[in-house]
């Protein structure tokens, strides 16, 4: 008998953030420094 069934394909693709976005966030995280002076917190980005 002819095989009439086809393998089901999962058409639902998982939505995820792009690898570039993740890389950017990790780079941002590494470059961010918080320094505190007289009770005030300063952010600096060391690129």
């Amino acid at each position: 008998m002819e095989k009439i069934y086809i393998k089901k394909k999962d058409k639902c693709t998982l939505v995820t953030a792009k690898p570039e976005t993740v890389e950017f966030l990790l780079a941002f995280s590494k470059s961010l420094r918080i320094t505190e002076a007289k009770g005030i917190k300063f952010e600096s980005n060391l690129n």
Partner: protein, 193 residues
């Protein structure tokens, strides 16, 4: 058996300076958070932007030591994303976006009044030519023309200022324009931009 480190442990590792913990957190919750944002905004690029902004806020809060451990990590992240989504829709309500279509393009109807560099040069030339031409006119006509064109005065005001009747002021203006046209023709000057 694979052991999964709890989010709270990863957060504390990250606060202590372990950058790898953030990578694990982002990758662990990537699809869940992206799916959540996409379900609200239905735009791939916008989802990406809000995802990025959410984690930037997360990173800054954690690094500043302002994270409250009472709540769980992912509900907190989702709340940040939710607030950013609301901000986005609020901003868009204030500033509606117009997408150009083939039949209607708002940008084709809009333009600024500024002249480009070439037209500005031509305008400057015309202004200076006109200024020199006006100097050729008799003094009484010059006076009326200056007041009317450059000071934007009414003929009543011109009449009060010069001590002549309105009809005389009108007549001087008329002769000034006639003489100006003659001068333009005689000198072959082009006064158009």
């Amino acid at each position: 058996m694979e052991v999964q480190i709890e989010d709270s442990q990863l957060v504390s590792h990250y606060i202590q300076g372990d950058e790898r913990a953030m990578a694990v957190l982002i990758n662990r919750h990537n699809s869940r958070l992206t799916g959540f944002i996409y379900s609200k905004v239905s735009d791939r690029e916008l989802t990406e932007d809000i995802f990025q902004d959410t984690f930037i806020k997360v990173i800054r809060t954690l690094k500043r030591g302002a994270y409250n451990e009472e709540g769980k990590f992912i509900p907190w992240v989702m709340r940040i994303a939710h607030n950013l989504i609301i901000d986005h829709f609020r901003k868009n309500n204030r500033m509606p976006m117009f997408n150009a279509t083939e039949s209607y393009n708002i940008f084709a109807m809009m333009n600024d009044d500024c002249l480009n560099a070439e037209k500005q040069l031509i305008k400057n030339q015309i202004d200076s030519d006109l200024y020199n031409l006006i100097k050729e006119l008799p003094e009484d006509q010059q006076e009326v023309l200056h007041m009317r064109l450059y000071k934007d005065m009414s003929f009543k005001e011109i009449s009060n200022n010069t001590g002549v009747s309105i009809n005389t002021a009108l007549g001087r203006m008329r002769y000034a324009l006639i003489n100006l046209r003659k001068l333009v023709e005689a000198n072959s000057i082009v006064l158009t931009n």
